[in-house]
């Protein structure tokens, strides 16, 4: 007993890093419970994807290939995932807390009458979980009783799984999705076009706060540095609220949680809400003219300076370095 099922989310017919993170967490959970680790892949025409996920050292892959699953929609997806959990004797359903993961897992938990713990950062030896709460002001130890349980994982908390071991068997599952579950329909997807790396997968992130003062300054002062470093651009909730940048750039408890190799915080005071989303970054640089700003309490390298002077200079110095 104690079998684990990973919901293997795919985007643009690929498995993003967040899915590989879920596989690692799922294997860890299975090791603790002494059960097997399975993966579920849902979609339309997904033979290749099911076959790919089978290479990551899971015991078996359940593939649900159905035209109604072409676009992710919570109703159909939740019905199919709940069916697998029930039919295959799953104890722990697990996925990364991406937009789809956050939308889907609680709905499945509702269908199953299961307890759910959100955005865990660790699994303890006794089967309890660690998760940040109060916008990162507290770390909670949480127990989930009963079976099945539903768990979402914070994308930065586990390393992505690598391919290896023998290839798992792929078992096709036919989902019975009733009319009510199909009630919602997909209308359109307005993709944020960007040549930059995705925030949650970037090696380097340059983020701006209210100190940037305007949307124009994000464009003319911050973006040149972002592009020169091949970085992703982030922002604080304050900068989003002020309308400088769209919300999908928001780093923080209510935005994206990131942990890049290098995080450069520009004109960011360091509200707890923001720190919760980036304090696990490997190296943090803060540039702020207020030397009392809380961001300096988490920064490895702090530069007390006017960003409008420091940023062009920074760009120049890095150019020198590269030549």
């Amino acid at each position: 007993m104690g079998n684990v099922l990973i919901f293997a989310e795919h985007q643009h017919r690929k498995f993003p890093k967040s899915t590989l993170v879920a596989i690692t967490a799922g294997k860890e959970a299975a090791k603790l419970t002494g059960g097997e680790c399975y993966a579920a892949v849902l979609g339309k025409g997904i033979d290749d994807l099911a076959s790919e996920v089978a290479e990551y050292g899971v015991k078996k892959v359940f593939a649900v290939d159905d035209p109604t699953l072409e676009h992710y929609l919570s109703g159909c997806y939740a019905a199919a995932v709940a069916q697998i959990v029930k039919e295959k004797g799953i104890d722990i359903l697990l996925a990364t807390a991406t937009a789809a993961g956050k939308d889907l897992l609680p709905r499945v938990a509702g269908l199953l009458g299961a307890g759910m713990v959100s955005e865990i950062v660790a699994i303890n030896a006794d089967g309890t979980f660690q998760r940040p709460t109060y916008a990162g002001s507290a770390m909670a130890t949480v127990a989930v009783e009963g079976s099945p349980k539903v768990v979402s994982v914070r994308a930065t908390a586990f390393d992505p799984a690598a391919k290896g071991g023998s290839k798992a068997e792929v078992e096709k599952v036919t989902a019975s999705i009733d009319a009510a579950a199909k009630a919602a329909t997909f209308v359109s997807f307005n993709e944020t076009k960007s040549d930059r790396p995705v925030l949650t997968e970037a090696r380097t992130i340059v983020s701006g706060g209210r100190g940037l003062k305007s949307a124009e300054n994000f464009k003319n002062v911050l973006e040149p540095l972002v592009d020169m470093l091949g970085a992703a651009m982030g922002a604080t909730r304050a900068a989003v609220d002020a309308g400088f940048v769209p919300n999908d750039l928001q780093v923080g408890q209510t935005g994206k949680v990131v942990a890049p190799e290098l995080y450069i915080a520009v004109g960011i005071s360091g509200a707890i809400q923001h720190l919760a989303g980036m304090k696990d970054s490997k190296v943090i640089v803060a540039i702020n003219k207020d030397e009392e700003a809380p961001i300096f309490q988490v920064a490895d390298y702090g530069l007390v300076a006017d960003l409008f002077k420091a940023l062009p200079e920074l760009k120049e110095e890095i150019t020198k370095l590269k030549h």
Binding site: P106, V108, Y134, F189, T192, E317
Partner: protein, 265 residues
């Protein structure tokens, strides 16, 4: 048309939260409480849908201790019509809250339930989706304003959720990498993200009027719902502290250190 909006009492997001030394909770002395900011956005949306539709009833519901009536009064002052407080002093998990809300929905029969996408205390982001599952209703989470908060529509107070003739709703959702639009038939559950609207403040006349509006208290025991939580917080601890590094004197020095010491550029 009837819209049910959830209102959770949470600590002020700007307050510094400290964990009790014994790990049983947070220090609540002198803590200011507010409506969960995402619920406030949900309520603003309901009020806008009401004026756009030329009338609707906006009913608030909160689950918690008697003190939650403060937040319900604030919601009534913003413009909601009446409020329900399900009195529950004990610890609940999201599934229990969803079951309680399910009961309220079965009694009230709203066309739309609006919730904040998450509460800023436990940051679970579960109750709305669980409620939709229990009811067998469609859900649209993380509703946003397709045109953005700088748009003319926002300035005019036009809702982001587009109702089609009282039978369906079109919702733009914030997802990874962009904005997805879905159509859901009513009744449905919608949860509000940050960029759906900018909530109004309660006006003085609104506050005066709110005193006379109905705020009905229901003991949770009278609902006949299983309120045993499956999820239990065993302990709270202060988060691990990251050590502050050092202050660097110049940009030149910073770049050198990032190159030779941290080896990140």
């Amino acid at each position: 048309m009837k819209i049910l909006v959830t209102v959770k009492r949470v600590p002020d997001p700007n307050a510094a939260i400290k964990v009790k030394p014994d790990g049983t909770g947070i220090i609540t002395e002198n803590l200011k409480y507010v409506i969960n900011p995402f619920d406030e956005i949900a309520l603003e949306e309901a009020l806008r849908l009401k004026s756009a539709a030329g009338g609707a009833e906006v009913v608030l519901v909160s689950v918690g201790a008697k003190t939650s009536s403060e937040q319900l009064r604030t919601g009534l002052a913003m413009g909601a019509d009446r409020a329900i407080l399900v009195l529950a002093e004990q610890e609940l998990d999201s599934l229990v809250v969803a079951r309680i809300l399910q009961k309220i929905v079965q009694d009230e029969k709203p066309d739309l339930v609006l919730l904040g996408k998450q509460a800023i205390d436990d940051d679970a982001n579960q109750a709305g989706q669980m409620l939709a599952a229990l009811l067998g209703w469609p859900q649209a989470t993380c509703a946003s304003k397709a045109e953005g908060l700088e748009s003319e529509n926002e300035k005019k107070g036009i809702p982001g959720i587009v109702l089609s003739g009282g039978t369906g709703a079109q919702v733009a959702r914030e997802v990874d990498g962009g904005l997805e639009t879905i159509q859901v038939p009513l009744p449905a559950v919608v949860t509000a993200d940050l960029r759906l609207n900018t909530p109004r403040y309660a006006s003085l006349p609104g506050i005066m009027k709110a005193r006379k509006k109905e705020l009905k208290e229901i003991p949770v025991a009278s609902l006949g719902v299983d309120i045993t939580p499956k999820v239990k917080v065993l302990k709270l601890e202060p988060p691990s502290k990251r050590e502050a590094g050092r202050k660097i004197g110049s940009v030149q020095e910073l770049v050198q250190l990032l190159h030779t010491e941290a080896k990140v550029i």
